[in-house]
Symmetry: C2
Subunit: 405 residues, 2 copies
């Protein structure tokens, strides 16, 4: 939460932080500290123990004031940026501006730079600031802002719940369209059109618009063998057919920048015994992980218990790689169990064999086991949940049904 | 263009480049070098004179191969990343992996890091790589990949033209809806609903879905005095009324990650003499800049000529700030004339008083003068054009009409 920025800075002995970027798009740290979107970005300065200062371009100052998260908003022009450019050149103006602001704030100790930026340019800036006497320090993950973002506030949870509810609407529309589609010789027809992945994506896109959500990373609607490739988004020309596995993975983002991540897997018509076993295994792995979920549990532990279930049912898992039994695995659970969601679609905390930190009340994570058989297809079931002190809260209630008959 | 990466590396004496990120979302450099979207990102390595190598996570390898831009694709697992994590810890594994790959490629000279990443983490990585003996160097803008991205290839231009044509469809639908709306006592009605900015945005969102475009940064539909604030996206509850200025600025992105940027300004009904003068001034400023546009012209020159027109018509411009005549300006042309578009919605080259580099054949830039009067409203007209050797090509043909009668 926002107040953790102050705490983490103190813990780490960092006196100042500058979160920067030329846009808030794709810059979750900057969105977080300024409270929303600024087309031309800006620089958020904070000294330990003091209120933050936000510098924006002249065109964004009103937007920044409307967002209201930072009270002290000024423009680059207020700090004579144009004059610095004329006097020192564009390259030198930016670090000089930062030095002036940091001096004005009385920062003399360690300073962390944050925000997603071009690394080449960022290194150039950091080297220049160091040469000008600023004590710039790098940070391993979790960085200060990452650590703050990990635990969601009540307002953030409300926003993710709203997205969850709208996402449930989209999934329900799609499932109903599939269920109601006419079936003729194994093929599906929606109205007078043969149901292809492309047609379904068109339907999904319209529902996104109606629910005021966007899909900057697309939507996975993978059928048949392509469903065995976890990140195959589906071939638009592929026909949707009875008896073939379908993985429908949806990850919408709201206007405020928050995400949710949900997956449902289906078969149109009756599932074979093989398909049913895949589905039941994955469902059971998810239930096992969810049953254990609560504050204090390690992500590693949840991953491990989900792998137990999948292995017991005769499938491989990535544990083989971590235990040195295999260099890679081509079937079974080929990815980790989950990841945090918030202002990004993949962030801390992770539910994987690398996750040694205990989960906390207010973390939001996906729980998404899958089993993939390359020559057949795959099944993945995913919910986004809030970790609580005694368990979890599912942030989007969508029925889990496999056979659409 | 892609081949410029090799050229710029040679010119700058940089032997190796590593473009990295944990997602391609919001990471245009990484999208550019890998040729599209990879959910979990990766690291693109290139040594001068050699073919590139792309490392992805196991879940993305098939996506990376389908993109096909890099032929040599391997997984982190192929380079024993999991073993490195077990042996060295997660913090140390990433730089060690990079050192191993760079050594394998025989890179001993200067190495640039690229891609949008968390700066705090990026600095930590760079410092660690330096400690391990890698000669990491920062780069001022334009960085190597930025320089390459500035000039668009034939394929990129085709994609932007496709987006331009779809965007024209959206604008035409919206304009026709506005023109055809019933007017009653100054208010507009679409069907049985009073036309608000929110309703128009809903219509726009559906058209985006039909045209398979997204609006990750939203859409500006600002009416009345809010149109005087260039980045005010419009109050959803505001009624759309006759006689009030409207600024409609649309910046869609395609699935492949490319953007276009267009603005039209309207008045419903007859414009007052004042509104007409605003519009004619802006239109004339744009025509003047477009007439001068061709390879070799400086962005600064176009900005300056557009300001001439606006000042001659009695409005202020940001030139007053650059000439030290004012610390800020609150009306007139308060922003620069334009910016590049491509895999981002705001990139080099810029058409501003700071732009000292000549435009080149294949640059794609917006030309978007505006005049804003805080207590009245604003007018902005914007096209995205390709610079050619003898002039320019408009990448989206949309009629310019002010009065919708």
């Amino acid at each position: 939460m926002m107040k953790d920025i102050e705490n983490v800075m103190k813990q780490r002995g960092i006196e100042g932080i500058a979160v920067l970027g030329d846009t808030t798009l794709g810059n979750p740290d900057l969105i977080y500290v300024v409270g929303g979107n600024l087309a031309r970005g800006g620089i958020y300065f904070k000294r330990v123990g003091s209120d933050p200062l936000l510098l924006t371009s002249t065109v964004d100052i009103h937007s920044a004031l409307r967002l209201g998260r930072v009270r002290n908003v000024r423009t680059f022009t207020d700090y004579n940026y144009e004059k610095l450019i004329i006097d020192q050149g564009k390259t030198e103006a930016y670090p000089r501006l930062m030095v002036n602001v940091l001096r004005g704030l009385g920062v003399t100790g360690k300073v962390a730079l944050a925000g997603r930026n071009d690394l080449a340019w960022g290194l150039h800036l950091a080297d220049r600031l160091r040469a000008l006497g600023v004590h710039i320090t790098g940070e391993d993950s979790p960085t200060i802002v990452e650590a703050a973002r990990e635990t969601k506030s009540a307002e953030e949870l409300d926003e993710i719940r709203r997205i969850g509810s709208r996402t449930a609407n989209i999934i329900n529309v799609v499932v109903n369209r599939l269920r109601d589609a006419k079936r003729r010789r194994g093929h599906l027809w929606i109205g007078r059109q043969r149901a292809t992945v492309g047609l379904l994506k068109q339907i999904i896109a319209l529902e996104f618009a109606l629910e005021r959500l966007t899909a900057p990373e697309g939507t996975i609607f993978a059928t048949g063998t392509s469903s065995a490739d976890p990140h195959n988004s589906g071939d638009p020309r592929a026909d949707i057919r009875e008896g073939k596995p379908i993985v429908f993975d949806i990850f919408p983002q709201s206007e405020l920048g928050y995400w949710i991540d949900l997956t449902r897997s289906f078969i149109l018509g009756r599932a074979s015994a093989k398909a049913r076993q895949l589905y039941d295994t994955v469902l059971s792995a998810q239930a096992t992980a969810l049953d254990l979920m609560k504050e204090g549990v390690l992500g590693e532990e949840l991953m491990s218990r989900a792998c137990d279930v999948i292995e017991r049912n005769g499938f491989r898992t990535v544990r083989d790689i971590y235990q040195g039994k295999a260099k890679q695995i081509r079937s079974g659970l080929t990815h980790s169990l989950g990841h945090g969601v918030g202002l990004t679609i993949g962030e801390r905390p992770y539910l994987s064999f690398q996750s040694k930190d205990p989960l906390k009340n207010g973390h939001v994570v996906t729980v998404e086991p899958g089993v993939y058989l390359p020559r057949y297809g795959g099944v993945r079931i995913e919910d986004s949940v809030r970790v609580t002190s005694g368990g979890y809260e599912n942030l989007s209630a969508v029925r889990k049904e496999f056979e659409l008959t």
